[in-house]
Amino acid sequence: MILKGFEIRGQERIQRPTPQEPFTRPGDGDGPKAPNVKRPDPSDLLKRMRRVDPDQARRYRQRSGE
């Protein structure tokens, strides 16, 4: 698989079966739970990305953290 700027050598990967069980199941008790995931409208995400000021990172300066 070739992505722009990246080469991913998928054929060299170790292949392992993926567990078929769902992400969460009924009866998981009080452990973390996940709701159903819906697919977004990709155009909305693109619109928001296009609104980002392209110079924002250049101006962003912070103190080193402790």
Partner: protein
């Protein structure tokens, strides 16, 4: 595996997160961030108590049994503290500590608003309180905006892309009787490779050196570039993968506090839970006598090479010369944790199940984890943008999009957009997060701290993780907050506190419950 016995599971351990937020105030520069951060914290509108009990802390004390005479500092950053920029405020006033009614700590940490969650015993509580911290700091920012008429932005990330890094530190209560070397050797390979699922993702490399520095256009971890040491007490410069600061905030004869500083700040609730859940399970393994039969040849190099590997093979070199995929190294921990800890409690079983699933996804197709892992979600977003706009990864605008991923503003942040669109797995609902801005977990000493803040906050002279001092004469009257308190102990103590009406009665109650002799002048 070596000899072992059963360990208690995630609910048997106390843990918490402390997150330093990036702060951008329209019209202000980095030299003003100390003051801007202080004023943001001071805008907190809720019930709080302070100041902080700094006498219980000593960041120069090393868990290996010594104390350093000074901590390393960042020379570039120190230039912002020139004498002519000095403040008339004391260090303590600048920090502006607030202990909140939910048991958390909110303060200005070196120019960053920092939120430390209250102590938690469950992953869902931890995630809810971590997100409650986002809401609380964002509310402070909105109040500051109204006050000054300028935009105030907050970023839950770990770099400014100009060489300054700030942390999201994890804290885990550990047994003191486990030798330091066993903790170090057991944890290092895990901490180095857990960025596979705990990394928040970053465009490019910031330090200019190390493995794959020229080839890397996107890496798994925000923080990996900034670590140069294996173990030390430092946090601001010469950062270590294993921080050896010895501040247990509990009885030092019994407990250590593992202070993990090499992690990223996660927006993804799943990544936060998996990061803390897996680390807690590895500590369970180590405390049960388990030891890994391998070591990394160069942990610092391995951290950076895993983070930066564009091939996604993520190979690490062991000290015996073997090379292993980082996913397979993680799987060694997973298999032994499954063998020894499965069935411990619901969080343990959730963590074991999701750990296995994530590693399988990373081997098969990392993008299958885009709904759970920050680095994958960010990378997918950036690829979508690159494709739509016809850009290359080298385009400087991508760093602004990277930063925007971490923007807490629901109308600006890219993670927030994914969440709003339902593209990200959630572990807690909004009601629980809102509730956590006010209420502490019910099964740790944080519940007692929160109750004292709520009922007697104005009468506090000092307040910290392990004790509360009330005003009275020349010295505070101290009441202990035992870390050993569990659900039943908290419930009994709150019940007794509910019946008292004054601070002296509360002090007596707290001391009796902890088995201490009631001596109001005791320090």
């Amino acid at each position: 595996m070596t000899k072992h016995h059963a360990a208690p599971g995630i609910s048997g351990r106390i843990f918490g997160l402390e997150t330093e937020y990036g702060l951008l105030v329209q019209g202000s520069g980095p030299e003003e961030l100390m003051e801007e951060s202080r004023l943001l914290v001071a805008a907190y509108p809720g019930v709080w108590a302070g100041p902080w009990d700094y006498r219980s802390e000593d960041p120069r004390r090393d868990t290996r049994g010594f104390r350093v005479d000074h901590l390393s500092y960042d020379h570039t950053d120190a230039a912002y503290d020139r004498p002519d920029r000095g403040s008339h405020l004391t260090g303590e006033q600048q920090r502006s500590d607030r202990v909140l009614a939910n048991g958390a700590r909110l303060y200005n940490d070196h120019g960053h608003p920092e939120y430390s969650t209250p102590e938690c015993r469950s992953l869902r509580d931890l995630v809810a309180h971590d997100r409650a911290g986002e809401r609380i700091i964002l509310e402070c920012a909105r109040l500051r905006e109204r006050e000054i008429g300028r935009a105030v932005s907050l970023f839950k990330n770990n770099t400014d892309f100009h060489g300054a890094s700030y942390g999201c530190h994890e804290n885990y209560l550990c047994r003191r009787d486990v030798p330091f070397e066993k903790l170090l050797n057991g944890l290092l390979p895990f901490l180095v490779t857990r960025i596979l699922f705990a990394g928040a993702g970053k465009t490019g490399v910031e330090t200019g050196g190390g493995p794959l520095a020229k080839e890397c256009l996107f890496q798994l971890s925000q923080r990996a570039d900034f670590f140069t040491e294996i173990a030390s007490v430092d946090t601001l410069a010469k950062r270590p993968i294993f921080n050896t600061r010895d501040e247990p905030h509990a009885d030092p004869r019994l407990w250590r506090r593992l202070h993990v500083i090499c992690g990223d700040a996660n927006l993804s609730e799943f990544a936060t839970a998996l990061k803390v859940g897996t680390t807690s399970l590895v500590l369970d393994l180590i405390e049960s006598g388990w030891e890994p039969l391998f070591r990394l040849r160069d942990p610092v190099k391995a951290l950076q090479s895993v983070s930066r590997d564009p091939s996604f093979r993520w190979l690490v070199e062991l000290d015996d010369g073997r090379t292993l995929r980082a996913t397979d190294l993680q799987r060694i921990y997973l298999r032994d944790a499954q063998a020894l800890l499965a069935g411990g409690d619901v969080d343990t079983d959730w963590t074991l199940r999701e750990w296995e699933r994530v590693l399988a996804d990373l081997d098969r197709d990392p993008f299958a984890a885009e709904d759970r892992l920050d680095w994958v979600a960010k990378r997918k977003l950036l690829e979508t943008y690159i494709e739509a706009e016809g850009l290359w990864w080298e385009d400087p605008a991508l760093r602004s999009l990277d930063l925007a991923y971490h923007d807490l503003d629901a109308d600006q942040g890219l993670y927030a957009a994914l969440e709003e669109a339902g593209q990200i797995v959630r572990l807690v609902d909004e009601e629980r997060i809102t509730c956590s801005t006010q209420r502490p977990p019910s099964d740790t000493r944080a519940a007692v701290r929160g109750e004292l803040v709520r009922r007697f906050g104005p009468e506090a002279a000092r307040i910290g993780w392990s004790r509360v001092g009330f005003k009275g004469g020349d010295r505070p009257h101290w009441a202990p907050l035992p870390v050993e308190l569990g659900s039943e102990g908290v419930s009994a103590l709150l019940s007794r506190l509910g019946a008292v009406k004054t601070v002296p009665e509360a002090l007596r109650c707290l001391r009796e419950e902890s088995g201490e002799v009631d001596d109001p002048q005791r320090i």
